[in-house]
């Protein structure tokens, strides 16, 4: 089945300023094949796919696509329309659907002539139905997309590509927004589609699903292809080593007896116009020497929960206790003073002031501290000494402590924030997606520091969409769904996944 080539990328290169995003990457794809494109964030996966789809103009290289008859023909670069008509379909991580239109209209949108006198609705419906029957991708065609679940929306996106006779389908991190069960269904559908001759490239950094569902794995690192391997010859350690170039350190978690409660939320509710950002009667306790993991699919109230604990959002009802003391008027400053260290979800947006220096960002949460200021004037030598010490201790690498913080890489920005949080001896650490988007080295460092804080007597509230991260770090697990928290005692992926999908078992 896999002899006939349908796509070949030949030495594609792309650079942005001085950053080389892709350096002569070549890749072949065959009929009926599922190719997993793996790599850490910033490895160049998305750039490569954007060149394939015509969004970016490559600086060098070429692309050949098989015509319906099977002859390889060069693709016009830099034109999405050319990619579409060559049979390349792409499903982005963030969907591009019109929420007020029905699924069927979304699928046919854009492939109808603009000034046609009548629309062949019956014909369109029959064609979509045909695709659904062949692939098993089922979506309610007449429901407005706004009312569909995330998994259904994704199926609509895929159907849209297939309706346009895509022979090559690119899926950009398709499972990032899905529950484990939804993800499994998706991969079954992909299996059916490839049996039909469709070739699929899927971008991911979840090793488990890559190993389970792909035929071949290509790994990108720092913009170059570092390896390609048949999935049957691969295991997690092999791929991980290809991705980071070294063995991944295993996090060592010692058993510990939890101590006194450091954070207690009782009956916390947050009402927001958007249901995705509300909380209903949330109760939780984090004890000293304990990591409480909050698992859940994104957009189920995690942001609201983090905002409440950060002090950014006052709950509409309920009470917050930190280290036994009730916080009556929560705001960021009060929470910091009470001993809450916060690692924000969006580190660029909430974590650092990019235009200010590394040294300044390291003291931004303790401007009242007499070590940092005397009579309202900054103590610059103390700031520099502090920054030198923290950069050493937390391995923050960059152009120096006086350079703008935005010049640091994502991993080093996170280490800067870690340094800031851990140096204040926080009683509770709120870690909201602390590992997302980090390379494996930085991710391991974050995990190590969180465990170290736990050993030191702090409590950690870990919010993550990555179940592996939660299972690896958390002592106890709660699932957030639709703004409500439920405790899970099982550490079984399937049990937790069902709760994440809102099933009550």
């Amino acid at each position: 089945m896999t002899e006939s080539k349908v796509l070949s990328l030949n030495a594609l290169s792309k650079r942005f300023g001085s950053v080389v995003a892709n350096d002569a990457v070549s890749l072949d794809l065959h009929r009926g094949e599922v190719l997993a494109l793996l790599g850490e964030n910033g490895a160049g996966k998305t750039t490569l796919m954007n060149m394939l789809f015509g969004h970016y103009m490559p600086d060098g290289g070429s692309i050949d696509v098989a015509s319906p008859k099977g002859e390889m023909q060069p693709l016009t670069l830099g034109h999405p329309q050319a990619a579409l008509s060559a049979g390349i379909g792409m499903v982005h991580q963030h969907f591009t659907l019109a929420e007020n239109l029905s699924a069927l209209n979304n699928i046919t949108l854009g492939s109808e002539p603009l000034f046609a006198l009548r629309r062949d609705r019956a014909g369109a419906r029959a064609k979509v139905q045909g695709v659904m029957d062949r692939t098993g991708l089922v979506a309610p065609l007449d429901t407005p997309v706004g009312k569909l679940s995330v998994g259904e929306r994704q199926r609509v996106e895929i159907l849209k590509a297939l309706y346009r006779d895509a022979r090559i389908l690119v899926l950009d991190e398709p499972t990032a927004v899905l529950t484990p069960q939804e993800a499994d269904t998706l991969f079954e559908n992909i299996g059916a589609m490839t049996g039909d001759g469709l070739a699929v490239i899927f971008i991911s950094h979840k090793l488990r699903e890559v190993l389970a569902f792909s035929h071949r794995i290509a790994v990108l690192r720092h913009g170059t292809k570092v390896g390609e391997i048949a999935t049957s010859d691969a295991d997690e350690r092999v791929i991980a080593r290809m991705m980071v170039g070294e063995d991944t350190p295993v996090t060592q978690r010692d058993a510990m007896t939890p101590g006194a409660p450091v954070l207690t939320l009782s009956g916390i509710s947050v009402r927001n116009p958007s249901a995705r950002d509300s909380l209903t009667d949330v109760n939780l306790t984090v004890q000293a020497h304990e990591i409480l993991g909050i698992a859940g699919v994104s957009g189920n109230g995690q942001s609201a929960l983090a905002s409440v604990i950060s002090g950014l959002r006052r709950p509409d009802s309920g009470s917050i206790q930190v280290d036994g003391d009730e916080i009556l008027h929560p705001d960021p400053k009060t929470m910091i003073k009470a001993g809450v260290g916060r690692i924000p979800e969006d580190r660029h947006h909430d974590g650092i002031v990019g235009a200010m220096s590394v040294a300044e960002n390291m003291i931004i949460e303790r401007l009242d501290d007499p070590e940092v200021q005397t009579n309202g004037l900054l103590n610059r030598s103390a700031m520099a000494a502090n920054a030198d010490r923290l950069s050493q201790a937390y391995d923050v690498r960059g152009p120096g402590i006086n350079a703008r913080a935005r010049l640091l890489s994502g991993g080093n920005i996170q280490k800067l924030i870690l340094a800031r949080v851990f140096e204040q001896g926080a009683r509770l650490i709120l870690a909201n997606q602390p590992i997302r988007g980090l390379d494996m080295g930085a991710a391991a460092e974050v995990s190590r520091r969180l465990l170290e804080a736990r050993a030191g007597g702090a409590g950690v509230l870990l919010i993550s969409e990555d179940l592996d991260e939660i299972l690896g770090l958390a002592d106890r697990i709660m699932v957030i769904h639709d703004g409500q928290l439920t405790e899970v005692t099982s550490r079984n992926r399937e049990d937790i996944g069902l709760k994440m999908a809102g099933e009550h078992t």
Binding site: S310, I336, D350, G351, I352, G354, A355, I364
Partner: protein, 357 residues
């Protein structure tokens, strides 16, 4: 193919060089309208230079003109640093000027050593009050300060006209809408005999120095920069964003008010409704040209005042319109804005990728 790419880090020479180069280019471009107006270009530029550096008097006139621009420039620079867009310096200037004549034109008759500071403080307070209103509307209700401060300018100017026809009108003015003069002991001391340049200039220079130092070295300046550069992160880090914004609003309004005080109590002696030929608005240009740096404001105010005074003098000497000065100032702003773009990005030529149809 030509493409535009962001620069990773603009160098130091860029931040200094771009404004200077922009000013030079704008001055050079002024040759075009000058030539169109039929002037001999070398003579025209010669007259311009003479108008500023030709005599001690010419130079002192330039300093006099630069003084209010330093105050309004500082007002804009500080507020803009916090991304608080105070477009209302013109109105706040008039509030300061009104306060100066209200207290200084005979309401109290006390020695100058008390009266001068009183006028200065009340004038600044009046300007600050004028900016406190939009700041409150912004922090409480989210009203866009660009709109509120801009519109307040017109309201305040009409209020000034009303007061000059009413409560503040000088009964000795033979019907002209102008205020009674500030008492002699209330006037800001002159700096040089027989010259108009006054101690408002010293006050502006000192305040610019303090502002520069406080921005870089104080916790207050740290908070202000953090709020301006990334309000979300500042809030997350426990900085009172609204409090910082309100504080800088008060300062900005106060500085603009001082521009009015310095014009009335340093130069004119009384208030009329045409006290300011747009110093409040020009202050925005001064601040932008200075890259929002307080010390830079001093330099750019001197430059813009030179252009105005030089062009005035040139227009008297060779008979071209003095509106040319406005043209040069506008062109320098445009050049700075373009220059800012050039400093942030670079234009590169690359060979076209293969395979393009």
């Amino acid at each position: 193919m030509i493409r535009i790419e962001p620069r990773t880090a603009p160098g130091r020479w860029m931040t200094l060089g771009v404004p200077v180069l922009s000013a030079v280019i704008a001055l050079a471009l002024a040759a075009i309208p000058l030539a169109l107006a039929g002037a001999d270009i070398t003579v025209a530029y010669g007259e311009m230079v003479k108008g500023v550096f030709g005599s001690v008097f010419a130079f002192s006139e330039m300093l006099t003109r630069a003084t209010p621009l330093m105050f309004t420039g500082l007002a804009a620079a500080l507020a803009f640093r916090a991304k608080l867009w105070n477009i209302g310096a013109e109105g706040q200037l008039y509030l300061g000027a009104m306060a100066a004549v209200a207290i200084g034109a005979g309401a109290v008759d006390i020695p100058g050593i008390f009266l001068v500071p009183l006028i200065v403080i009340l004038g600044a307070a009046a300007g600050a009050a004028g900016m406190a209103v939009p700041a409150l509307l912004k922090t409480r209700f989210g009203a866009d300060e660009v709109v509120t401060t801009l519109l307040l300018n017109f309201i305040i100017l009409i209020f000034v006209q009303m007061m000059l026809e009413g409560a503040l009108k000088d009964p000795m003015s033979l019907g002209w809408p102008q205020s009674a003069p500030v008492l002699d002991q209330g006037m800001l001391p002159q700096l040089m005999p027989r010259m108009r340049v006054h101690s408002g200039l010293i006050l502006a220079l000192v305040l610019a120095g303090i502002a520069q130092f406080m921005l870089a070295r104080s916790v207050w300046g740290f908070r202000l920069r953090a709020v301006g550069e990334n309000a979300a992160a500042a809030r997350h880090a426990g900085i009172g964003v609204n409090r910082s914004l309100f504080g800088v609003a008060i300062l900005s309004g106060g500085l603009a008010g001082l521009a009015g005080v310095s014009e009335v109590a340093g130069l004119k002696g009384y208030l009329t409704a045409d006290l300011s030929p747009g110093f409040g608005y020009t202050g925005i240009v001064v601040a932008m040209l200075a890259g929002l740096s307080p010390v830079g404001v001093v330099i750019s105010a001197l430059f813009i005042a030179s252009v105005f005074v030089g062009a005035d003098s040139m227009s008297r000497a060779i008979g071209v319109s003095s509106y040319l000065a406005d043209l040069v100032v506008s062109m320098s702003l445009l050049c700075v804005l373009i220059g800012g773009f050039v400093a942030r990005y670079r234009i590169t030529r690359t060979k076209t990728a293969e395979g393009v149809a």
